[in-house]
Symmetry: D2
C-alpha cells in the first residue's frame, strides 16, 4: 500500500430496493458528506432506494466519468459486478461496501467509517482485475464483442440442464469436443464464484490466466483447464437436434446462441480497478468465506 | 439365470426417424418373425420409421398389455427410458437393442441374432429396477403423483444456470437448505447417467437406495447423500425473487414449479423389468462405458 | 425412542493422557455415582488419566462382559472407535461423550448431565451399526479374519503416496484393475469420516451398504461404488516391482500385505450398538459438522 | 518451430533392466550412429541394459556437459523425470522416446526414425518447463535447497494415509492451516500427473504458475490454489503427536521432515528444456491420454 491521491468526488451505486437499507445509506451519506467535495447518487439508485430527503446530487450514468473519481458500490458482490460495468465504461475505480456478510469484492462494512475515511484519504490498495469480453458470430459473420464479465462467461443450454455439444479451440488450436451441460470461462476474480461450485481451482487474483470449467461433462475425465488470459477462446456449438445455448456474462441476461454459431472470448482491453482498505488480505477473505478457520470437519478415524 | 417362459409376442418400440435405420430393422424383423408367434410394431414407431413394406402388425399403445409379452426397445439408452414408460403402464418386460455403442440399459447389438434368439427362448436374466415418482403441490393442495423416472428426477432453475434455494426433507425430517443450480435424485439405474457427471457415486443396480446429488451447490461441503429408496423426499422451493424451477423425469419435458411449491418424491409401486442376455455382467458394462480397461491414464512421476 | 431397561453398571473408557481432562472426569464420575449401581473405570484408562483419588472400581477388559451393561466412551470419535473394539468383543452398547466439538459418534457433552441421566434411565435411541472385518491371505492359504472396522478399512502403499496396482472382485466377480494410491472400503458410519475426504458419498447410517472409494486413482473416471454390505470384497495386490501395501482398520496400526497377497473383506457378524440421547438427529449432526448451516459460501455472480 | 542447430552428440539415458528392451535399443542405436557425430550411452544405462556388443562410447554422468548436446531419454515419463535431473545439472535438452504408450513428456515412439532424424537435424520445438526446488529447515536453521522436481513436490505422512497438520504461507503471508493426508505442489508439467489424480486443474505448460493440491483434506471446502511460480511457499509441520512427514520430489526417495520443521519451496533458477518433434501438439496429447476422443461416456437420459 502506498498513499495515493484522495478520492474527493464519490458516486453511490446500489440496486437495493428495500426500505430497510435506507438507514445504512443515510448514515453513510452523512459521513461521506463531511469528507468529500461532492457525493453523487446514481439516478437509478436514487429511484430504487426512495431515500428520505437528502442533499446528494443525482447523477446520470453518462456523466460519471467527468464528475467522479470513485464509485462506491453498496450491496453484495452481485451489486459490485453491476457497478463494474459502469466502472469499465467510465474508467473509474470501485470500493465495495457490503451490507451483509463480507464478500470477495465488497469487503468493507458500512459501519467501518474510519476505514472508509482512510480509503478516501488515499490509503488504499488498488488492484487491476482481468475482465473478459465475448462475441457470438454466425457463419461468415464478423464477431462484434459486446459484453464484458469480471467473474465469468457461462455457456449453457437454453433450457434447464440439457446436453449441448461444442468444440473448444484455443488460439485457433482444437482442444476437444465436449458434451456437457455447458462451460464456465472464469477470470481469477470469478474463480471463487460460480466456477468454484463447479470444481474449478482458486486462481490468485493477480494471475494473468483464465480457467475453463466444464459443467457436468459426459466425459468423466474432463477437467478444468487453466490457460493464459491472453489466449483467445473459440467455442463452436454443434447442431445436436437444434439445441440452442445461452451466453451469460456475470449471470446477467443472456445472449442466445443458435446451433452452429461461434462464441469468441478474449481478454478485455481494460481492467476493473478494485480499491481495498489498507489492511486487505486476500487469504483472510478466502479463509473466512470458505470456512477454513474451524478446526475439525469430517469424523476422524483416530487418524 | 434360469430358463423361463419363452417370449412369443414381441412389440418393437423405437423413436428412430432416420431412414438409415431401416436395414437394421428389416433384418431384425426377418429374424424375429421366424421365432415369434407374432411381431408387432408400435404405431408411432411405424410412422416414424417409414419402413419398406413388411408384414408386421401395427399396435396401439393401449392394447400392448393384452397382446404382447415383451417390449423390444431398439435405439440407445434414451429410447429405452421412453420404452420404460410403456413398460410400467402395461407391466411388460423390456429387452434393449442398441444400434450404436452398447448402453447401460440397451445391451444387445442388433446383429447378435443368436443372443436375441436365446433370450426369446427363455434364457435370460430378469432384473427389477427401482423407479421414482414425483408430484408438485402448492399450499394446502394434495400432491398428485403424475410422472415416473427410471434414471432420475432433476430439479433445476427454469432458465439457464441460476441459483435456486430450497429445503430438503427426508421422511418429514429437515435435512438442509440448499442454494445451488438444482438437485438430481437418482435411482441406482440413474447413478451411472446424469448423476455420475455431477459427482454422484455408482450404486449397484439391485440396491434399494436413492442418491441426492447437488448441482453446483454454493456450499462447498455439500455432498451426494445415499438414502433408503423407501424414504419419501420433500423439497420446498423458497421464494428467492420469484425464481421458478423445472422438474424433469428422465430428461423429458418439464413440470413447472413456482416459488413456495413443494416437490414430493417417492418410490413408485412398480419396477421396470429389464431383460438381459444370459451373459450379462454389470461390471463388464461399467468397465467398458467408463474406460476402466486401459492401462495408463495420467502422467506418472515414476511412482 | 422407546423407554428401555436402565443402564446400572457403567464402565468408563478413555485414552486421555492429559491432566486437564481430570476435572471433567471427576465431575462426571460424581454424577454417575449418584445414579448407577456401580461405575467402573477401565484399568488402562485409569493408568493413563492419573485421576485424583476416587472410589471407582478398576476393571480389566476381559471381565467387562460380566460386570457392565454400558460402555461410556469419553473422548472424541477416535476414542469411540477404540471403544467399539471392546464393545464388539463383549457385546456391550456404547454411549459417546465428547470433550471437544461434538462428533458423529460421540454426541453428548460431558456437561449435559441431565441428558446423560436420561439415557441411563433408559430413555435413549439404540442404533445397530454395520462393522467390516478383513483378512489377508497368501497363495493357497485360508484367510483368517482378524480385525474389525466400524468406519473403514484402508488399503494403502507401505510408504507414502505411491502407486499400487490391484484387482477388485465382488462376490468373486471381477470389477476392475485399479492403479491408485489405495482404496477405502467404508461402512455408512465411516462414510462421513475418511471416505468423505476422498470424495465418497454420505450413506445414511442404517443402510446395509458399503462404499469403495479409490484414493487418487490414475484412471480419472474411477468413481466411488456403493454395494450391498453382504457382498464379499476381494482385492488382489499385483506384483508391481515388489510394492507392499498396508491394511488398516479405523486407522489403527497396519497389517502388512505382500505383493500377490489377497485381502478379503466382509460384513462382521455383529454390529456396534450406538446409544444416542432421545433428541438425537442425524441430519442435525451432518449440518453442524459439515457447516451446512451458514448462508453464503462462494462469491455470487448476482445469480 | 524454427530450424535450429542440429544435435550431433547424443547420450542415451534409460533405466530399463529387462533384456527385451535390447532390440529396440539396437535398432535405435544403428539409426543414430548414421546421423550423429557420436552416440554415448550413460554408464549406468549400459550396465542395466546389458546390450549385445555395440560400438557406443560409455559416458560418466559428470562429463555429460562437455561431451553432449542432447539427452535421449528412452523409457516412459518416469525415466524422463530421472533424466531431467541430469539435464538440469548439465544444462542439456532432452528428447523423450517412449517404448510403451506415448507419455506427456516422452512423446516419440522408437520406431519413428524419420521423426527422430528430423529432430536431430534441428527441426524441433523447444519448451522451457518450470522446475521447483525445496529445502527442509529446523528452528533457526538456514534452509539448504537440495532437490528439484519437474512434476511435483509431495508432502505426505511418513506412514500410510495418516492425518498431518501444517500451516501454509505464501510469500510469508499466512494462507491456512490444513489437516489432511498431505499436499501436492505441482508445476504445469506436473499438473497432468499426480496432481490431476488429486483433483487439480490442468495448467497449460508455458504458464508461470504452480498449483497446491490438498490430499484428502479434512476441510471439505479445501480446493486447489493456483499461484504465481515466483511466489515462495513455506509449510510448517505442526507437532500433532510427533507425526513425521515425507517430502518427495517427482516420487523419488524422500526427505524426512520432523514435527515443527519447515518446508521451503520456490522456483528453481533453471528450466528443463524439452525437445518435441515439429508436429507436437499439447492438446492432442491431452485428448489421447485422458480419453477425450471417444464420443459417449455416461448413460444418457435422452438428454
Amino acid at each position: 500500500m502506498t498513499t495515493s491521491q484522495p478520492f474527493k468526488r464519490i458516486a453511490l451505486i446500489s440496486r437495493h430496493h428495500n426500505m430497510d437499507a435506507a438507514p445504512v445509506f443515510t448514515n453513510l451519506i452523512k459521513h461521506l458528506n463531511k469528507q468529500s467535495d461532492i457525493v453523487y447518487i446514481q439516478k437509478k439508485t436514487a429511484e430504487n432506494l426512495q431515500l428520505p430527503p437528502h442533499n446528494l446530487s443525482i447523477i446520470q450514468d453518462d456523466t460519471l466519468a467527468n464528475h467522479c473519481d470513485l464509485l462506491l458500490s453498496v450491496g453484495g458482490d452481485g451489486n459490485f459486478l453491476n457497478t463494474a460495468q459502469l466502472a469499465l465504461t467510465h474508467d473509474l475505480p470501485i470500493l465495495g461496501i457490503n451490507r451483509g456478510r463480507l464478500g470477495f469484492l465488497a469487503d468493507v462494512y458500512p459501519h467501518e467509517l474510519e476505514k472508509i475515511t482512510s480509503v478516501l484519504d488515499g490509503n488504499y490498495i488498488e488492484e487491476q482485475r482481468t475482465v473478459l469480453t465475448c462475441a457470438v458470430s454466425h457463419t461468415e459473420q464478423v464477431a462484434t464483442y459486446c459484453d464484458t464479465a469480471l467473474n465469468e462467461i457461462t455457456l449453457s443450454p437454453k433450457q434447464g440442464p440439457k446436453l449441448i455439444e461444442f468444440e473448444i479451440m484455443i488460439n485457433g488450436q482444437f482442444v476437444c469436443t465436449q458434451r456437457s451441460d455447458g462451460l464456465i470461462i472464469a477470470t481469477p476474480t470469478g474463480s471463487t464464484a460460480y466456477a468454484l461450485s463447479g470444481g474449478g481451482p482458486i486462481l490468485y487474483p493477480s494471475l494473468n490466466v483464465v480457467v475453463l470449467v466444464p459443467i457436468f461433462s459426459h466425459n468423466l475425465s474432463s477437467r478444468p483447464i487453466v490457460i493464459n488470459a491472453d489466449d483467445t477462446i473459440t467455442i463452436q456449438l454443434r447442431n445436436a437436434g437444434g439445441v440452442q445455448a445461452h451466453i451469460s456474462c456475470d449471470s446477467r441476461p443472456c445472449i442466445l446462441m443458435s446451433a452452429c454459431a461461434t462464441l469468441h472470448i478474449k481478454k478485455y482491453e481494460q481492467t476493473v480497478r478494485l480499491i481495498h482498505p489498507h489492511d486487505y488480505n486476500y487469504f483472510q477473505t478466502l479463509r473466512s468465506k470458505l470456512h477454513w478457520e474451524s478446526k475439525e470437519h469430517v469424523g476422524t478415524s483416530a487418524h
